[in-house]
């Protein structure tokens, strides 16, 4: 599974990245977590409120820092 975190380097993006890592760890899944900081790519996803989480090219929660529990729920709902 590929999880991308979009954000230009604000503290909230870092927090979301940490939460995503934690969630993947707790679920015991192989996840590749990538931080995307280039403005162009963020806009390509149509995201204007950062941070945002993208899983398999689908955008979740633009503008919100999801908690570990919320990220687990999102991951479970996909797989």
């Amino acid at each position: 599974m590929k999880i991308e975190i979009l954000g230009m380097g604000c503290p909230k993006c870092k927090k979301l990245t940490q939460n995503a890592q934690q969630a993947a760890k707790e679920l015991g899944i192989e996840a590749e977590i990538i931080k995307i900081e280039e403005l162009e790519k963020i806009t390509e996803y149509g995201v204007i409120m950062t941070p945002a989480m993208v899983i398999n090219n689908e955008v979740f929660s633009p503008g919100k820092v999801l908690s570990v529990e919320e990220i687990k729920k999102v991951i479970n709902s996909i797989s």
Binding site: M8, L39, E40, T43, Y45, V47, I48
Partner: protein
């Protein structure tokens, strides 16, 4: 090689401390002023302005539905509405520049287009809630109000100008794709809009009355009456606030709110206090001298001449201000003799533009549009400075 550098550093340090002009007043005073400035902010602005302001910013981020605003910036929105929303939405959408740029890029490429994107870019940093609160508190409500109104009006004008300058290009450019707003269904928090409104009012009410300015002696107006009872009123709002939190909020809502406020605080406060320190060091508190002599400031940007306003705009456009640091710096400048008009010009051009963000803007819209934008910002900031300076005098 490494040893040589070390020796140079040690010799340099030795010479520096050996010849440190500690006895000289013009050396000691700026250091004293830097500490005095920090002291003044810690005493006057932290408890009753900065803490409530950060709590309000966190609450806006956490409890207001940003999507309700964002959907008016999409590609299909009525254009007039888009300009209007873009010019005022900075107040609820942005706190730092790292959130402004994705919004700008998204609105330009996939949303309402160049004009509204530019309008948002210009007004965003000036009308975010922290900036308005601290400008009004530190520099006076007139300048705070002028900053907010100036930013909104001129953002629309600048947006429209760029739109018409690049009209043919804009017509050809098709927006590709759609913006992602996320699901609007927020958690059922069980509060009505009215209850949320009351929650914000209780915080703002505390801040307004706790900071109620002292009236002039002999003033018998309502203003003086309110001043007499300001602490009663402020405490009443605090009690209302606590009551609202206890009865209408669930515990799991309060934690994310405090976390948001904390993250804004972490992000902004250290740089703000560094800015305060340097403002004190270089410019001194109002009426005192820092390293830069007051007469130098007064000659460059004193009064309300065209050249003073223009100079302030240009400097503001290229200089980088970390969020909110423009305020102590301006306080120092005004104290050293800067005119009110140039002060507004700097406030308008400053946070909206800086050399680093010019480069990002250029990567999004290209060199030509960036140059037009910079030129318009400088012209508009100069004009609004002139107008404001004339009204105040």
């Amino acid at each position: 090689m490494k040893n040589q550098i070390k020796i140079f550093i040690i010799i340099g340090g030795f010479l520096l401390f050996y010849f440190l002009p500690l006895e000289s007043f013009s050396f000691r005073n700026p250091l004293f002023e830097a500490l005095a400035m920090l002291n003044m902010y810690a005493r006057e602005h932290v408890i009753f302005s900065l803490i409530p302001a950060f709590l309000i910013a966190g609450a806006i981020y956490q409890f207001l539905d940003q999507n309700a605003v964002l959907k008016y910036l999409g590609a299909k929105t009525n254009k007039v509405l888009a300009y209007f929303v873009a010019s005022i939405s900075g107040s609820v959408l942005t706190v730092c520049s790292c959130t402004v740029l994705p919004l700008f890029s998204g609105i330009y490429k996939k949303g309402a287009g160049l004009g509204p994107a530019i309008a948002f870019l210009y007004s965003g940093p000036a009308i975010n809630v922290l900036a308005i609160i601290l400008t009004a508190r530190v520099l006076g409500w007139q300048l705070g109000l002028a900053r907010a109104i100036g930013a909104v009006i001129f953002s629309i004008i600048i947006g429209l100008c760029t739109h018409f300058i690049f009209l043919s290009e804009e017509k050809e450019r098709q927006s590709n794709g759609e913006l992602q707003f996320g699901s609007s269904e927020s958690d059922p928090d069980g509060r009505t809009g009215f209850q949320n409104l009351l929650y914000f009012i209780s915080m703002i009410g505390f801040m307004v009355f706790a900071n109620w300015a002292k009236p002039q002696a002999g003033d018998q107006s309502l203003w003086a009456l309110i001043f007499q009872y300001k602490w009663h009123l402020a405490i009443a709002f605090v009690l209302l606030f606590i009551y609202i939190l206890v009865t209408w909020f669930q515990k799991q809502e309060i934690t994310p709110w405090l976390e948001s406020s904390w993250s804004f605080t972490q992000q902004i406060l250290p740089l703000l206090f560094l800015g305060i320190f340097f403002a004190g060091l270089l410019l001194g508190r109002p009426g005192e001298e820092g390293f830069i002599p007051s007469r130098f400031i007064a000659t460059l940007v004193g009064g309300n001449s065209l050249s003073a306003n223009f100079f302030a705009s240009i400097v503001g456009a290229f200089m980088y201000f970390a969020t909110l640091t423009e305020i102590p710096i301006l306080q120092g400048l005004i104290g050293s003799g800067m005119g009110q008009g140039p002060a507004l010009a700097l406030l308008l051009a400053g946070p909206a533009l800086s050399l680093p963000n010019m480069l990002v803007i250029r990567s999004v819209v290209g060199t030509k549009k960036t140059l037009v934008y910079i030129t318009l910002v400088v012209i508009m900031a100069t004009i609004s400075g002139m107008i404001y300076g004339n009204i105040i005098n």
